[in-house]
């Protein structure tokens, strides 16, 4: 009787373990399927011309997506310039101020921001930037993307800095180093890997966003580096081409999807490497 009980429990144990492993595999499968799909459909349109050329007018064969690649890079760069200083400052403030009303409200707002649908953020950027400027522009798209980046950067900065031991701060303060220098020259460098990882992950998150760009950056068929004019980006291009009736454009959309996926995945991998390589040992 006793022995049977043990056998039964061991069997339950094995079933549980089997299920956990099975589900872990299942959760990995979507990514593999997506990558397979994108690669098999997109790789055929990938070549050097595809990367460096501009789109041709509809009806002509050939062309590329260089304007969208450059556009994505510019949009992301400008978003970083807007969001990184703000996000890091807020993260520093929150990690330094564990309690207090203002910190509580800021934390609440940042968490709330994370839950706002990206299309809503797009509309806000439209009302804030596009309407006063009377034209869609890259800068309005970057504003929308920057708002989406903020919560990720703030949270990762806050969490990273919270883990810094108090002894580190005391070591600096005891040398007569003023508070602001202690934060900027001792605490921030020690937490650099976590902060940079957070920034890279937030970039990976927004690089593929379409919704906030639909009525802000707007897209376009020409090469444009002026951030006050409409600008194309990979997700917009995919959206426009994939919904078009021309099979050639649809295969272009697959190719662009492949480029975008490679971009985002490499950002994720770089973020992991940074986190590992720059980690500070105490």
């Amino acid at each position: 009787m006793n022995k049977d009980g043990v056998t039964f429990r061991l069997a339950k144990d094995r079933i549980f373990k089997g299920l956990v492993i099975l589900f872990s595999f299942l959760s990995g499968i979507p990514l593999i399927i997506i990558l397979y799909y994108i690669t098999s459909k997109g790789i055929s349109s990938i070549n050097w011309d595809f990367i460096i050329n501009l789109p041709k007018p509809v009806g002509e064969i050939g062309g590329g997506i260089s304007n969208a690649i450059i556009g994505t890079l510019i949009l992301v760069l400008v978003s970083c310039i807007l969001a990184v200083p703000l996000g890091i400052s807020a993260g520093i403030y929150l990690s330094e101020t564990r309690k207090g009303k203002i910190a509580y409200v800021v934390r609440l707002c940042v968490e709330g921001l994370q839950g706002i649908p990206s299309i809503v953020i797009g509309i806000i950027a439209y009302a804030w930037v596009v309407v006063p400027m009377k034209t869609p522009s890259a800068i309005s798209g970057s504003v929308a993307l920057a708002i989406m980046m903020l919560p990720v950067i703030v949270r990762s900065t806050e969490e990273t800095l919270k883990l810094m031991p108090n002894s580190l701060r005391e070591a600096s303060l005891a040398l007569g180093v003023p508070y602001f220098r202690t934060i900027l020259k001792v605490i921030l460098p020690a937490g650099l890997s976590g902060i940079v990882t957070g920034i890279l992950l937030s970039v990976a998150r927004i690089a593929g966003e379409t919704a906030p760009l639909l009525f802000t950056a707007f897209g376009g068929n020409f090469m444009n580096a002026n951030i006050f004019k409409p600008m194309s980006s990979l997700p917009l291009l995919i959206f426009n081409y994939a919904t078009s009736p021309y099979s050639e454009l649809i295969s272009f959309a697959w190719g662009a999807s492949f480029v975008l996926a490679v971009l985002v995945l490499s950002l994720n991998i770089i973020a992991k490497l940074v986190a590992k390589k720059w980690k500070v040992q105490f």
Partner: protein, 252 residues
């Protein structure tokens, strides 16, 4: 007698409503080692953290009374200036993890934005590491990270970092409690050598250590300074009964 480098008069410290130091008065003699001992929670760490105004980093901390560094009231000087004149070494070695050994030693200048030319820097680093007895061990690896050193070496690096600022006083807060016996010995020897350069105020819960290395000893209990005097006298013919009981292990 030479005027004391640090004069503490009628000093009280509070954390909120909790009084942790009660009317402490003591004079610290220049270029001597003064040990502060007593049972846990007696306020000895608070006392030395008041000397370089580190304790006011704790919210709700308050003080009253006077502390004079060379006849200047510590509490009327900016704490940043006080801390450059009064160095501190903590219980656990805490070298800056992002910096090399060299940069750790010179960090007091670098982080404060004090410009030094290269030869000045090098001579400060070499001198400080020699004084802290670390030079021979690290002179070939000055540009490795300070955190690669052993615990005892890290603690001596922290002492070198404090010495580099050429302070009047160095405060040591139980500097050997996180170290193994051999490394502790090394630090103790170092402290007795250092008194020629700097005044040392050391907190310890180890009475034997206080007896071995200090010239003067203060015994604290429940926030009060019970007895203060030359170490030899305090350990052989203590005046207060509580000192005697503590030394003989009856409490604490």
């Amino acid at each position: 007698m030479e005027s004391p480098v640090l004069k503490i008069e009628d000093f009280c410290a509070f954390f909120g409503a909790n009084q942790v130091l009660k009317n402490v008065s003591v004079e610290i003699t220049r270029n001597k080692v003064t040990a502060v001992m007593g049972p846990s929670g007696c306020g000895k760490t608070t006392l030395i953290r008041c000397v370089n105004r580190m304790h006011e980093l704790t919210p709700n901390a308050k003080v009253s009374g006077k502390m004079l560094l060379l006849n200047e009231d510590i509490y009327s000087i900016n704490p940043i200036v006080v801390r450059r004149k009064i160095g501190m070494v903590f219980q656990r070695p805490n070298p800056f993890p992002t910096m090399s050994i060299y940069d750790n030693v010179i960090s007091g200048y670098k982080l404060n934005g004090i410009k030094l030319n290269k030869s000045e820097q090098e001579s400060i680093v070499e001198e400080s590491l020699k004084k802290s007895g670390l030079w021979n061990e690290v002179k070939d690896s000055l540009h490795r990270k300070g955190t690669f050193l052993s615990g005892g070496q890290q603690q001596r690096l922290c002492i070198a970092r404090a010495l580099a600022m050429k302070p009047e006083i160095i405060l040591l807060d139980e500097p050997t409690s996180a170290l193994d016996p051999k490394a502790s010995n090394h630090i103790e020897e170092l402290i007795t050598e250092l008194e020629q350069y700097v005044t040392i105020l050391i907190v310890t819960h180890n009475t034997a250590q206080a007896a071995r290395i200090s010239d003067f000893t203060a015994f604290m209990y429940l926030g009060e300074l019970i007895e203060f005097g030359p170490t030899e006298k305090l350990f052989t013919v203590p005046e207060d009964k509580r000192t005697e009981e503590y030394l003989t292990g009856k409490f604490g």
